[in-house]
Symmetry: C2
Subunit: 352 residues, 2 copies
């Protein structure tokens, strides 16, 4: 089969670009003494996670138990769930995972710690606990050194749990400020954190300048996207995934419609806002993907000297690539323009 005959819309991943992206990040981590623990949320494909480990990653990061279950079944054996697991349902699912892989979980509150303790008791296996702190993202994570200390003490005191260290997202100058405040207090109580973990692709290559972490969790770097180009992390040639779409309507001279909307792209906007639209067209940089409905993408062609024609196939770099993986049951792999086959996105849709 030829790439140009694949039915659209279809996400197409260039494995040569993937390989270069993986090697560049592994090399950066090796040079700066960082353990790389890639976040699989971007690709959700066991074969790619195994390749990350083969190249030197110390383990992987998942956000949900369902993702960890897919990855553990594929042989990944060191898994961090960087997300507070709250409730008995979660403990009941974490337990069998702890029996087959080295499991680590993030906590920022006593209920998440209790889930980990229940899972450890059910499985008989030790579970590592990382205390998540907030570096300014105002998401999960404790906001005081005192709260971090309390959770670290509780982890040490709980049978079946091991205090594994500290974790934050994204790593920033604020991470260093928090660590400076909390580390002496932890050490004073004999709670030396083995792992100080930071994350985030946009500033990944500055991690060593930002904060004294010894582990890096990054996801998007494997494919990159328009946001990563805007952040200066990558160039267009480093974007491994393109959505291939078809112009299915050209109602006016300046308007085109492609066969992909929020069901294929997700609606994530650039940080600069809606004016930048929903994707970048490397073969038509002047095209603006101005609006999306579920199955339609509306192109403003008014700035184009040469305009895409009805029936023409176009390549699009999405604003944010991670939701694209989640929206497609399978993607196409290619290398150097040659179609290699379809790959199931095995861990897509794992909301639980």
């Amino acid at each position: 089969m030829d790439l140009a005959t694949l039915e659209t819309p279809v996400p197409v991943v260039d494995l040569a670009v993937v390989e270069a992206n993986l090697e560049r990040m592994q090399d950066y981590c090796d040079r700066h003494g960082l353990a790389l623990r890639p976040h699989i949320k971007t690709h959700k494909i066991p074969a790619l996670a195994l390749r990350q480990v083969e190249l030197g990653a110390r383990g992987i990061t998942c956000q949900k138990l369902g993702e960890a279950e897919v990855m553990a079944a594929a042989g990944l054996d060191d898994i961090l769930i960087s997300y507070p697991l709250v409730g008995q349902n979660k403990a009941a699912r974490l337990a069998p995972l702890a029996g087959r892989a080295r499991m680590r979980v993030a906590v920022d509150n006593p209920l998440a710690l209790r889930s980990a303790a229940e899972a450890a008791a059910l499985s008989g296996a030790e579970i590592g606990v990382r205390v998540e702190f907030d570096s300014g993202a105002r998401r999960t994570g404790v906001t005081s050194a005192e709260a971090a200390l309390e959770l670290a003490r509780a982890a040490r005191a709980t049978p079946g749990l091991r205090f594994d260290g500290l974790m934050t997202y994204p790593v920033s100058a604020a991470s260093a400020v928090f660590l400076e405040a909390v580390l002496p207090r932890l050490r004073a109580e004999g709670l030396e954190p083995a792992i100080l973990s930071g994350g985030g692709t946009p500033d990944a290559f500055r991690t060593h300048e930002l904060a004294p972490v010894n582990e890096l969790r990054v996801g998007t770097y494997i494919y990159n996207d328009r946001m990563m180009v805007a952040a200066g992390h990558a160039g267009w040639a480093d974007c491994a995934l393109h959505l291939h779409v078809t112009v299915i309507s050209r109602p006016t001279a300046d308007r085109g419609i492609v066969d992909a909307g929020t069901k294929s792209f997700a609606a994530d906007l650039m940080p600069q806002g809606a004016a930048l639209g929903h994707g970048y067209f490397p073969d038509y940089p002047e095209v603006r993907l101005e609006r999306l409905s579920e199955e339609h993408g509306m192109l403003d062609l008014s700035a184009c000297a040469r305009k895409p024609e009805l029936g023409e196939r176009l390549r699009v770099v999405p604003n944010h690539v991670c939701p694209v993986s989640n929206l497609h049951d399978r993607i196409a792999f290619m290398r150097g323009g040659e179609f290699l086959g379809f790959q199931d996105v095995a861990a897509r849709g794992r909301t639980l």
Copy 2:
């Protein structure tokens, strides 16, 4: 199993509310002489489509071939694909559908007409062609009476095709203006359109005042959502789907985090913009779901006298319910608070 023990995040649909919503719309259509052709994009579940037909719908509407394939396999036998199908891949998939169901397709350009013609030739079955026109949404649809006439003539002249009528979305006062211009010209050529089809839930109950259509395509009315409440189409009690979520973190007095983000809600904003947030909490109307990342929903609790606690389960009416169906492999059905079972969202993820 009890609803309160279902693992979160989980979409829960109240079938009593569904039934009332379906009956209300069917009754409206019956009173005004409109054929109801519900759009299955909102629920993507064959059992609900069959119920819509049982209550009086004349057939269904799908946006993609993959949705139509799921519905035809379940026994739905009159299917409109309200979307331009462009290319040989699409014709090759439309053909077998035309062999098992009465198929109708929307066209707004010659390539979409050619796909229908190829499918009719391959299958030997007649395919109905509806010419889509633009009523101001600036999406697909011809923008001139002349273009509509040309496509209607071509449909009549093409073996295997039948000119089925005209179609627009959403129905509005502009639809009436277009119809007034085009209908005399069509009739003058003997091209009487059997069907004049309008769509859209927000103004559905005003269809008879807006334009002289004789068919209504609506999807969202089966579940309703925050946008339909804002549009005045529904009240909160008419919202059949709630996403049940859990507060997994309470980092500060005024911030809570729930276990659902864009992977569970989609990122669709209210027409008024981002300030209204991403959902409505019927049990905590003052909660503002201010930001979403993929797996996190950030709650601003500053306006709440009573604040949701860590570990508490909350119900959320999403801004836009259709993407919620697409994001979940299965949903929970309940009636009067009693859990009935899980239902596969069989036509989710059908981007092709």
